[in-house]
Symmetry: C2
Subunit: 347 residues, 2 copies
DNA sequence: ATTAGCACTCGAGGTGATTGAGTGCTAACA
DNA sequence: TGTTAGCACTCAATCACCTCGAGTGCTAAT
């Protein structure tokens, strides 16, 4: 006999998950039978639960306990069952309050966003700094620093500066480097990384002598510098994981903390997440084995309509997906708006 | 009858502290009487312990437990009793291993140092980014960004760039701003912040029109930018606090984590600590009430012989001060050396 | 198909006894 | 006079044991 997930099973599963998200305690048949909207006795629920367990949606920690939803159940939940929440006015006020202090440039805004996210959700939050790919060049300046070494400064239309050291083939003086800077600026003004035509730029530098390797290194440096973007991640509320009962086990908590601190894998998660408006990764779906047992929800933010970064929340698999999504949605649009307006208005 | 801390009491206290640092468990009279170098019976030790308690060096969690050293005892310990440790070859190898990858500029080095510190000590570590005060100016460049807004880029001899937005009084074109930049660079080349003579610089800008407010804002911007230094703190091993039994209480751990994450007070600690070669702050000596119960040990690092920043370790009051000091001393000199050499050699 | 009823399971939490590491005090001792 | 042996006492930790109750599966009646 083939079991199917009929409507009633779905309803029951949903009630179980809702309860579990709220209480973090295995939920029993009686609890569900008393649930408004479900007019069934606990015995019936038990039968259904047994079916759901067989289908892989529920798990039993031990015989005489209730059931807890599996990763698979949460997947179903976020895909089909979840009713999406909205922020209440109070939360919106709180969120705006965090963001009101937009002094201090992009980094400060990103940091404030991270703090707001972790405080509002009560989970750990992370915000990837804006990625520069697609941003346009405004100015290039090469400054001699000491013997045979110069520093290359790149300014973009986002008001972000980056800099890199470069080795010069001989002791080029400030004047020469300045002329080269002007030529480069003229050539590359308003270019994005992808627009850079190395050969053409090289040609335009011929008059400054036969230093092919140096020029090549210079252009490569500019390109790679713009391309790599900033790998910086702003974290906040790392301690929040200790608030949730699943991490009362100190060993577990320590482990997660070290994974979070390492940042490299978080960077990969956020980088990849920038391709999609929202992502939800549940428990074992995480690539990093250390993150199994956690869920990650992310949202993208934009600048002038283009996605340039993403932010996310790390919590237990039983996190309140609906609420987290709502908060991420709101904060994402706030951040997008702020960043875009920082380009247009005074700052 | 006046009790004094005679030599024997000191020895006993020292043995107690050593033992407590190692085991984190109240230590009893029998343990000490068996301690090599102390040829006394437990009964005698008990008498001495009672005296030490009366003098405020020991505390009893409850009647039938051993004693634990008070903050006052630890203070005495680090000031007078402690024998200073040296790193063993293996630790030196490990430390060098962390620092071998000095690719990627100052931030990367600072980060690596923080990671090494936390891994070697098993406590939480923090490293304050180099403070620029005392660093010399190399280049100033003002670039128009959009209507009425420009970005000011400052390059120092440490190869550090900083940038700030500035509002222009009218739409100054790139050419004009460039001429102003050159003039400023000429005027301020090789200056430290403290050397800047605002009036003289203002005078030299007269020829660029009567924009007193703008010029003033410009110079102020440069000054304050250099002055404030970077408030960035690199943290590592936040999760390590969970390794120590005093933080098995989740509430306590959460509290400390939130204090650490807030960073503002850590910045103040490290900033102030830059004035001294080493500092040790024990328990209640901390200014931040949230940090009482912790100890902080810091060391200064230098660039070309001048102190430009400090690094520290946060742990329980019973931390292994001798070892932590040795590690900080070693890492401090490594960092100083690396930073100084980054100025001189290619990077 | 649903439900009431029942026997069974098992973790959580409470009780009480035991253990052992520790103390203070006193009296004997060198 | 300082040191030590000895003893009575304290108290947290641990363990065995018990009870409680929330939960289950199964079966028979509706």
């Amino acid at each position: 006999m083939k079991m199917r997930l009929d409507n009633r099973k779905m309803q029951i599963l949903r009630a179980i998950i809702d309860d579990y998200i709220l209480n973090a305690v295995p939920v029993g048949s009686r609890t569900i039978s008393k649930h408004p909207g479900i007019g069934l006795s606990s015995a019936t629920i038990r039968n259904e639960m047994a079916d759901l367990e067989e289908l892989g949606y529920l798990e039993q920690p031990h015989l005489s306990a209730g059931r807890i939803p599996s990763d698979k159940a949460f997947r179903l939940y976020v895909d089909d069952l979840m009713s999406n929440a909205d922020l209440n006015p109070e939360e919106i006020r709180a969120a705006n309050n965090y963001l009101s202090m937009k002094r201090g440039g992009i980094e400060a805004v990103v940091r404030q966003t991270a703090i707001a996210l972790s405080d509002l959700t009560d989970y750990t939050s992370m915000v990837l700094s804006p990625q520069l790919r697609g941003i346009r060049l405004r100015h290039i300046q090469i400054v001699p620093l000491r013997e045979l070494t110069a520093i290359v400064i790149i300014v973009t239309d986002a008001g972000i500066t980056k800099n890199a050291f470069i080795r010069t083939p001989y002791n080029m003086d400030a004047e020469l480097l300045d002329r080269i800077s002007r030529r480069l600026t003229a050539q590359l003004y308003d270019c994005r990384v992808v627009d850079i035509d190395t050969n053409k730029v090289m040609e335009s530098l011929y008059e400054f002598g036969n230093n092919v390797d140096f020029f090549k290194a210079l252009i490569n440096g500019i390109e790679s510098n713009l391309e790599e973007g900033s790998k910086h991640i702003e974290l906040s509320g790392a301690g929040n994981i200790l608030s949730h009962p699943e991490y009362n086990d100190v060993e577990r908590a320590k482990h997660i903390l070290s994974v979070i601190e390492e940042q490299e894998s978080l960077y990969r998660v956020l980088r990849d997440a920038t391709k999609m408006e929202f992502t939800i990764t549940i428990g074992a779906e995480n690539e990093n084995p250390g993150m199994r047992g956690c869920s990650i929800v992310t949202a993208t933010y934009h600048m002038k309509g283009k996605p340039i970064g993403s932010m996310g929340v790390i919590g237990p698999t039983r996190m309140n997906y609906a609420k987290v999504l709502a908060i991420l949605r709101y904060m994402g649009s706030c951040l997008s708006e702020t960043l875009t307006s920082m380009l247009e208005e005074d700052s």
